[in-house]
Symmetry: C2
Subunit: 446 residues, 2 copies
């Protein structure tokens, strides 16, 4: 069949959802069609919580019904070709969609390292695919010895969640000296490590996986770079993803260094009627403007909203001209959150920095129920005195404290400004006004 639409979005993740909703709001008269290749979508950041926190995998489905109710058509099919001259997209089902504006939101796929045994049964990547994930969840339940490769957010969250099931030996293998080390300095990584150890997780740092050994075609052991081996019936690969750019490649759209599709500030590709958003699009670092590989649903949806608003006219000006790495995670009751640069990544980029730390209880007095110690570290450029990074470790409030820090970074505030910011405090909700640690950390900076 031949379809004709104003706006065509290829993809089924959060960026697609956010872009469709935004486009409908700004251009209500335009017809929008989404072509996605898998029926039930998945909330990507919720994947680890399908293991034990959520009752059932179906609780983590990303619903498209609310978008369809807004008049957006959703087609289940796989796009195979873009005809740029013709302004149309061809699909696996043999259909063709002509468009005025095309948005590529094709996402990313997990990296499978080329090592021996990687294709054995029970070696899993973490794909945003319902059937794949229910298979993985079953494999987790059936396995006693589980090796997780990669101590980033997903690996850490998988380890924590699996530790709540009975009779599991969990090995978390990280080649760097610290877990979570892209986003945190050592002190914070160690807090997470302590929590995981309390949950019985074995953390094997400074080690690579060299080979997956088999017995009868199934995983039996994992051999590490230090010559040791650990038993394993299941290996979960959590070592990152790469952008899905096959469709854009075939259409001759430009590539960035990291292989994302090249886009301008408004997420327009070299072809101005074709946009790319989310994991498949290239990103520039907030501080250095170098290409960066931040692949997060929050980043993807921020891009999606800018693209959606600016499809036909530039309406919402992109104020932050680069991607800020902003993360939060939860490890057995401890929340760790990071925005911008760490002391380590700042030094790697040749920033001279000053930093300040402050710890406070996130209720006041500290005997109020639910109080957790919360540590804040702020990092400023030394000469300019501008905030370039922040890390928080504490209770659940840390998940929103990091957004305050993120706004402060995006607005280029000075140490001075952080010190004199006005805040709201409440005994049951925040640190005390005399010890609000975001402000105290700025005061300590030197």
């Amino acid at each position: 069949m031949k379809y004709s639409t104003d706006v065509l979005i290829i993809g089924g993740g959060p960026a697609t959802a956010a872009c469709a909703v935004t486009a409908k709001r700004y251009y209500p008269s335009k017809q929008i069609i989404i072509v996605k290749d898998k029926k039930p979508g998945i909330i990507p950041c919720g994947i680890p919580y399908m293991i034990s926190t959520l009752d059932k995998p179906d609780d983590n489905i990303l619903p498209f019904d609310p978008i369809e109710e807004k008049g957006v058509k959703v087609m289940i099919d796989r796009a195979t070709d873009i005809k740029r001259d013709d302004k149309s997209v061809q699909t696996e089902n043999g259909d063709s969609y002509s468009y005025e504006k095309l948005i590529l939101a094709t996402g990313s796929s997990p990296i499978r390292p080329p090592i021996r045994g990687i294709d054995l049964e029970n070696v899993y990547t973490v794909e945003k695919d319902y059937d794949h994930l229910t298979g993985l969840m079953d494999a987790i339940k059936r396995s006693e010895n589980i090796v997780i490769l990669g101590g980033g957010f997903i690996g850490v969250e998988f380890a924590d969640e699996i530790s709540h099931l009975e009779n599991k030996n969990i090995y978390l293998v990280e080649m760097l000296p610290d877990i979570l080390s892209n986003s945190f300095d050592t002190k914070f990584s160690e807090l997470a490590e302590t929590k995981l150890k309390e949950r019985g997780v074995h953390i094997l740092k400074g080690k690579k996986m060299e080979e997956i050994m088999e017995k009868d075609g199934r995983v039996q052991k994992v051999k590490l770079s230090d010559g040791t081996a650990v038993d394993a019936e299941l290996v979960i690969l959590c070592i990152g993803t790469h952008p899905n750019t096959g469709l854009a490649d075939k259409a001759g759209l430009d590539h960035g260094i990291e292989k994302g599709i090249w886009v301008d500030e408004y997420l327009r590709t070299a072809e101005r009627d074709i946009f790319a958003i989310g994991d498949c699009a290239s990103k520039r670092d907030f501080f250095t403007r170098r290409e960066t590989a931040v692949m997060l649903a929050s980043t993807a949806t921020a891009e999606a909203r800018i693209a959606g608003a600016n499809l036909y006219q530039l309406q919402v000006i992109r104020e932050n001209k680069g991607t800020l790495a902003m993360y939060s995670t939860y490890v057995s009751g401890l929340v760790l959150a990071s925005a911008g640069l760490t002391a380590k990544t700042a030094k790697e980029q040749d920033f001279l920095i000053v930093s300040g730390q402050a710890e406070a209880v996130d209720r006041h007095p500290g005997s109020i129920p639910g109080a957790s110690k919360t540590l804040v570290q702020l990092i400023f450029s030394q000469q300019a005195g501008i905030l370039i990074g922040g890390q928080v470790a504490g209770g659940e409030t840390a998940g929103e404290i990091i957004n305050t820090i993120g706004v402060l970074i995006q607005k280029n505030v000075s140490i001075n400004e952080v010190e004199s910011f006005q805040i709201a405090t409440h005994p049951r909700l925040t640190a005390s006004p005399t010890k609000y640690n975001l402000i105290l950390a700025a005061m300590q900076a030197d």
Copy 2:
């Protein structure tokens, strides 16, 4: 005795504590003496939680030991006179303190309206005084019928806390059509009202207290402006406070319209070596520069830090040239928070506004444990498109979400900027990236 010091601070609240710590950090070689008139200090915002949340009143003491450990001297005495020519302060004990820099942090006192029966036994104001408060706590425990006058934050929090004790009839009397109406629009006030009603609190709106009727010298009934009367063995007055300026008055320091001590941007009074901070100092509204009566510990400590840093040299530039009303409160599990103007207060100031609302669950998926629905309303000036206010109702995360909103207001951000802000999201900690309601509320603004 005659004492001589570099820095003299008069007061015993959070502003005194924050100012002493800041001054010690910026001017470590300067000697600091605090003169405060009551031995155990009280955490002002924690007062309602002395009723049932905290185990004992002592849990709500504001400790001065950590400040004394930094080398600050704390004297228990009452300042009676300032000799400006002589640069000295006289006290009730007959001592004299000469200073280079004097900081007045004398706080505020509750208002007692001039109505019949106001001086009866068991008519209590809420004073930041340990002995007074333990008396009030005892009176609450002994009384069955309790009238709280004033539906602002303190009145609402008292009502909620008392409702957790057994066998209490609580009447909350508010003369305006809504409770909490200085800081919230009706929709938000009604959410709080519903919570209080669920806890059995009787809310009497649009009514004034006309007379407190006695029997044998004790409170028996309260007569209201609609002619009705309610039984009461205890009346708690929560109708606001006025600045304590007696000491400054006697010394001839200038006054603002609302009776706070006049100060410049750096909290310096007309006499440049005398500073005034916190409730006793006059404040200018962030938006209009008119004098405003915001008396909050968070505001007081923000001023204290600016004064402390700038005692001898102007070092920390005050970036926000006016006081922003920022509050949060907790009503039986519901958090309400507000920053800046409401739709109502904006209209009162003749702002033309646009506003947007969005509701989302503060976890994703919504089946993650601890999820609460959270409603955000943002208010922008219509022509300038600048954020001038925000209100949040939801779970405990609202206590920090309001600080993100506060920073956005203090940085004069546009609707555009809010829409394109980068945020961190996490299933266990925040709304989903597709539904982060701070951004969605900006998108809805019209």
